[in-house]
């Protein structure tokens, strides 16, 4: 094969490149493909109201569970309201809530908005660590001036007075 380089060193280098190139191409291709399809955006209720993600698109919704909003149905369905300062969203979830799910505390719901505007959660995450607030959520709350330190409940998450 005359087109191969003559020096053994260059030959070895060529073999190495020939071995690396397909793997690299495969890895880069898969990565780009994967990143396009399997990332999900994080919104607080007010950000979701502004961005208006299309129904069915997988997103994460983070906020505080409003006091008194949790309704547990006997068939395993749970409805609750996730709120930030200016907006709130109804969340519906089928299944067992994480052990650390509590009213007035931060949660992240993974799922998608339905056509009627209710957020259908496939998964609800509360942190294993009781002092924890998801960083995205903490940041969003700080930006809204709602950060009161770990574990405290801002006013809007407290139960609304019955009017």
């Amino acid at each position: 094969m005359s087109w191969l380089p003559k020096s053994p060193k260059a030959r070895r280098r060529l073999t190495l490149v020939a071995a690396i190139a397909p793997v690299l191409a495969l890895a880069v291709g898969l990565t780009l493909w994967g990143l396009r399809d399997s990332i999900s955006f994080f919104y607080t209720p007010s950000q979701a109201a502004a961005a208006h993600p299309p129904p069915g698109r997988s997103v994460q919704l983070g906020g505080l569970v409003r006091m008194g909003s949790v309704a547990k149905h006997p068939d395993g369905r749970v409805d609750f309201v996730v709120a930030d300062r200016t907006a709130e969203d109804k969340v519906s979830f089928q299944g067992d809530l994480p052990d650390l799910f509590r009213e007035g505390q931060g949660v992240v719901a993974v799922g998608a908005f339905r056509g009627d505007g209710v957020f259908e959660a496939k998964q609800v995450l509360a942190k294993h660590d009781e002092k924890y607030m998801p960083p995205d959520l903490a940041k969003a709350l700080k930006a809204q001036g709602e950060w009161r330190g770990d574990g405290s409940t801002p006013d809007y998450a407290k139960a609304k007075p019955v009017t």
Partner: protein, 658 residues
């Protein structure tokens, strides 16, 4: 008093670590064996100091001394003894002290065990290890001292997070850290070799035992963490591609690559630069793993002991240590002599391909883990990268690796023979294909991807068997002869076979579990039932039960299949008054290698007022293999480690020959 002694000992440990770095560096400069011995002595003294400090911390936890801030925040008098001790490394400060304890321990071990090493190289290694120790001890002493007192000690502690009160997780951090920090010796050796400007077979042979030990610990550590997540979180899954998991997995991938490339450097003198790069990379990823998690930069569901304020400091330490090491690499590596030549088809090439695939896999995992950070820095949008990304990128690369793996050990060094290898492997290929087709035909529902995974797993197991048969010349020479060969096999060979077999078993378990798992969830009244994968579960009773430091509600679930009673599951739901948390305890019913996994959920009220309980049940076929595989791999690592060749340094033999 005890904790003041501990603080003082910690400070002494720091002083000795600085002395260790200074004395050993001076020893190398002046080529003085007296200074070198002094440096080694300082390494031992530093370890002794940190060990005393660590013992004092454990003492404070065991005696529930709440005047120590860390104990007050993480312990409780009613906690069982195991978790009191484990509480010592359950917090940020305590875990960093554990890190320092293991780091100085490895430093002391390297100083005492490294007699076969050339003097200059050894002095430099001890110096680098001392420098690492100084940095981390300084951080512990000045920014995160776990032995500090508080002015007004509380009567009762705040207790350890109940999720962490679990035997597997109590021993998970020591294993994981022994793995992470074990890479520090490899790192020090690599830096020392770069300064000396010489990387040879002796260096690679010296790196391998440390890398093997660290890799084995890391394998067990990751497995324990995964097993804990499996049965403690109650989600029925064992791997979530969560940043915390990825952080421990990346150093493992790097260490695996290093183990293989070091073989090439040892046997053939080639790939010296690449082995150095991996040695630096393995510890860098270990630090990244520990600190990315500790600093709370990444969103994760199961990061514990997070402290964002000090996270930046940790990331600076990481940047300085690895940054300077890689700068040194960029400067010195091009001067290293290139090693032996090899043909495109050879054992060397197979190992190179293994490294390319492992490196690419590490890169995709790294990108997926850090992409949310990058994206947020660039566009300000908060996103998360989910499991589909990792399944799509990581799985094909690993599948390619698994396809090639059995051929590697059968190829000859320098110039391999493709035809010979295919002749030997066709039996394994046939067996694997048979297993795949059987799965496709017999297991319902029919899943092509799952059957493909089973084929791969069977291929790995059969490949390991063929390799063993090849070494013992089984079926070609008389059985007694084969047996003699089998007994006489070097432990290194056994280690490799075991590790590859363990991977095969893991792949079998993982693919079968992922492909054919079953799930059912229902709100059941007493006497109610649900079905999962042919099993019939009846909720018999639910009653209260008292634990040592919790109150619980326990369910009795009768499991039967086709009318025959199989077992009784007793999942419970524990309330820990100390932290005000509820944790569910799952019940596992073992059916061979498969698990029936039961979780008791919340109590609710049916419309007619009778109580109902949310019961979730998972059928996890072959799930035991997922955890058995890594244990076999780690055993393989340890078997390799016990090989005589590992203990006799090649360097010393050379000296004798000269």
């Amino acid at each position: 008093m005890i904790s003041e002694i501990g603080s003082f000992a910690l400070l002494l440990g720091l002083a000795f670590a600085i002395a260790q770095a200074g004395l050993s560096a001076a020893a190398r400069l002046r080529r003085s064996s007296v200074l070198a011995a002094a440096g080694e002595g300082a390494a031992l003294a530093s370890f002794a100091g940190v060990a005393v400090a660590f013992a004092c911390l454990i003492h404070a936890f065991v005696t529930s001394d709440f005047s120590v801030a860390n104990v007050a925040a993480n312990s409780h008098t009613e906690k069982p003894m195991l978790y009191k001790v484990a509480g010592a490394w359950g917090s940020h400060e305590g875990s960093i002290l554990l890190w320092c304890f293991i780091l100085t321990g490895y430093g002391a071990a390297a100083a005492t065990l490294g007699r076969g090493l050339p003097q200059g190289l050894k002095a430099l290694m001890v110096a680098v290890q001392g420098a690492l120790g100084s940095v981390f001890l300084a951080y512990t002493v000045f920014a995160s001292n776990p032995l500090l007192r508080i002015a007004n000690p509380p009567v009762e502690g705040r207790s350890l997070n109940p999720l962490l009160q679990d035997p597997a997780l109590a021993i998970h951090p020591p294993f994981l850290y022994s793995g992470y920090v074990g890479m520090s010796v490899v790192f020090s050796l690599a830096v020392a070799a770069l300064i000396e400007g010489r990387v040879d077979a002796a260096w690679a042979r010296w790196v391998r035992p440390w890398a093997l030990a660290a890799w084995s610990f890391l394998t067990v550590g990751i497995m324990l963490g995964s097993f804990w997540a499996y049965y403690e979180l109650g989600w029925g899954g064992w791997w979530f591609w969560d940043p915390v998991e990825n952080a421990s997995f990346m150093p493992w991938l790097m260490a695996t690559a290093l183990l293989h490339s070091a073989i090439v450097t040892e046997k053939r003198g080639a790939l010296a630069g690449w082995s150095l790069f991996l040695a630096l990379g393995a510890f860098t990823f270990s630090m990244l793993g520990a600190f990315l998690v500790r600093s709370g930069v990444l969103t994760s569901v199961h990061a514990f002991a997070v402290d964002p304020k000090r996270g930046v400091l940790l990331l600076i330490i990481l940047a300085v240590t690895s940054g300077s090491a890689f700068a040194l690499f960029a400067w010195r590596a091009p001067k290293l002599s290139p090693g032996g030549m090899f043909a495109p088809v050879s054992r060397e090439s197979a190992l190179v391909l293994n490294n390319i695939l492992l490196a690419a896999a590490t890169a995709t995992v790294l990108l997926g883990t850090l992409y949310p950070l990058i994206r947020e820095a660039l566009t300000g949008e908060a996103i998360s990268v989910g499991p589909p990304y990792f399944n799509l990128t990581f799985a094909p690369l690993m599948a390619a690796l698994a396809v090639l793996l059995p051929a590697g050990p059968l190829l000859a060094w320098k110039r391999g023979d493709v035809r010979g290898v295919t002749q030997r492997l066709w039996v394994a290929a046939l067996a694997a294909l048979g297993c795949g087709l059987l799965t496709l035909a017999l297991v319902s529902p029919r899943k092509a991807l799952g059957a493909l995974g089973i084929t791969l797993g069977a291929w790995l197991v059969a490949g390991a068997a063929v390799e063993l048969a090849e070494r013992t010349r089984a079926f070609r020479v008389p059985a007694a002869d084969s047996w003699r060969r089998l007994v006489g096999l070097p432990r290194g060979a056994w280690g490799m076979t075991l590790a590859h077999l363990g991977l095969g078993i893991f792949v079998l378990g993982a693919c079968f579990e992922l492909g054919w798992r079953g799930e059912a969830a229902e709100a059941l009244p007493l006497g109610g039932s649900l079905d999962v994968a042919g099993y019939h579960l009846v909720l018999e009773t639910v009653g209260p039960r008292e634990g040592p430091n919790y109150e619980s509600e326990r369910a009795l679930i009768q499991v039967s299949k086709a009318g025959k009673p199989i077992c009784t599951g007793e999942p419970d739901r524990r309330f820990y008054p100390a932290g005000g948390q509820t944790v569910s305890g799952i019940a596992l019913c073992y059916r061979g290698a498969s698990h029936l996994y039961m979780v008791l959920g919340e109590r609710r009220k049916a419309p007619d007022g009778t109580p109902v309980w949310l019961i979730r049940a998972y059928w996890n076929p072959w799930a035991s293999l997922i955890f058995l595989g890594p244990v076999i791999m780690a055993l393989g690592g340890l078997t390799s480690l016990s090989d005589r060749r590992m203990r006799l340094g090649v360097a010393r033999r050379r000296e004798q020959a000269a």
